[in-house]
Symmetry: C2
Subunit: 273 residues, 2 copies
């Protein structure tokens, strides 16, 4: 159902641990090359970009990172500057911070920086994003919709950076009770998988189109391609959704999901039961 | 998978409309016989039983109810009194108010009143319950567990009144973000369907084992019998759950669910798509 995925993505559900084990951030750092990593932090999503950038710089330097640059994009013209493109081209790992996903796409989309990121993605540089930085990974991203009941509040979507094909990402998932909006999102076009990532939890997607979970919480994957009923074209604002059945996979660390086959498998020491 | 269900249940997700259309309460009143209804309101769940009883009495009398009694159970001895059994025996509709589900089961379970209710259920008297009154309908009921992430907080369960077989009920479902605890509940024994009912939303289950949705929100039915992986026996307190796949049905008014076949169908003017 989904296209083959190239590249190397680490999609984080927000609020990743920055004080204790820092498991997810260390995982990113090691995947980017460890002590040899050349990290590029992009703070475009945040209005407190300097402070956010400083936090991540201190963390990665604390892990032993010697080569780190921050791209603090404030407008589209800045996103076109050659020295930013050079930073992307020479990095071994790119990290999108949280904030507002529309700030990322509105300032980077269609700029030379956007092209450089796509080039880096296609060449297998690991690209990580947390919270808003997670949402922008997909073709179409969720930008709003807070209704508890599915369909209650029409979901708002916008075009994302398009690295991840065939999957719609949501973040802060269990913590903000977002199952309703994820089910609404997949009902709009059940071709797309919905992926809700909890806080301090991440999904590593390598070229082989397998999702691997790293972190403390769970990842919920909703596959509505099997649905025999869906009333989404009938609902207006304020009306609830009907969609059934939807295959839901609840996964935690140690488990993987195959995007092409839409199946869950165990990894490492855990056994399937 | 599930046993055949006798009887006539109206299970309400809490916070049903009591000021405007009162759709669910009017539905119960009409199913109980309308102007000829003999309503028995059981306020056992509530610590403010008198006030809660008065609210429902005013509502049902406002609909045209001429025959209404309130059973305000304060202890197990009271639940054994003959005049209470007579009230149950002569009623055409029984309504359990909200509060604490353990107050209902601890005061009624194993008493002559409990036997009278079971007798009424088997003879097809409509039995309604809202919020805590909804939870008690099943064999095993959820009494606690507030973790957002599935498995994060070990769910607490207790034996219910046992009218509804093969289904675990949760209420205030979308409003209190309870998908995590419902998935944890069904993972404990995937024989059982999980049914999460939103506020101002209800499920009418007649002898034919079909659930019909009435009200403003949605009902989420989780069928984990198809799961090929489940780590629930591995998790300890604080560890997340992995279970996949789970078939999820999101249904609103106009849709039905067949418990025996575990399939959703449309009803009335809405067409399946």
């Amino acid at each position: 159902m989904t296209e083959h995925i190239n590249g190397n993505l680490l999609i984080i559900g927000g609020a990743e641990d920055k004080k204790n084990e820092c498991k997810i951030l260390r995982y990113f750092f090691n995947e980017a090359g460890g002590k040899d990593a050349k990290i590029c932090v992009i703070t475009a999503a945040s209005e407190q970009a300097e402070q956010v950038g400083r936090t991540y710089e201190e963390l990665f330097r604390g892990f032993g990172c010697k080569d780190l640059v921050i791209i603090n994009i404030e407008d589209r013209e800045y996103a076109a500057l050659d020295h930013n493109l050079d930073k992307i081209a020479s990095s071994s790992g790119i990290f999108f911070t949280g904030g507002d996903q529309l700030r990322i796409t509105a300032m980077i989309g269609g700029t030379p920086l956007g092209t450089a990121l796509q080039h880096g993605y296609e060449h297998g540089i690991i690209i990580a994003g947390t919270s808003a930085g997670a949402s922008v990974m997909s073709d179409t991203m969720i930008i709003g919709g807070q209704g508890d009941t599915p369909g209650e509040d029409l979901i708002q979507m916008a075009p994302g950076l398009g690295f991840l094909k065939g999957v719609i990402v949501d973040q802060h998932f269990a913590q903000r009770g977002r199952i309703g909006r994820l089910l609404t999102a997949v009902s709009l076009n059940p071709y797309f998988l919905g992926m809700g990532i909890d806080e301090d939890t991440s999904v590593h997607i390598r070229g082989n189109a397998t999702l691997q979970i790293i972190g403390r919480g769970t990842v919920l994957i909703a596959d509505a391609s099997v649905a025999s009923i869906c009333n989404v074209d009938d609902i207006n604002n304020g009306k609830p959704l009907a969609i059934a059945p939807v295959k839901v996979h609840v996964l935690c660390e140690g488990w993987e999901f195959d995007i092409a086959r839409r199946t869950s498998t165990c990894r490492g020491e855990q056994k399937a039961k």
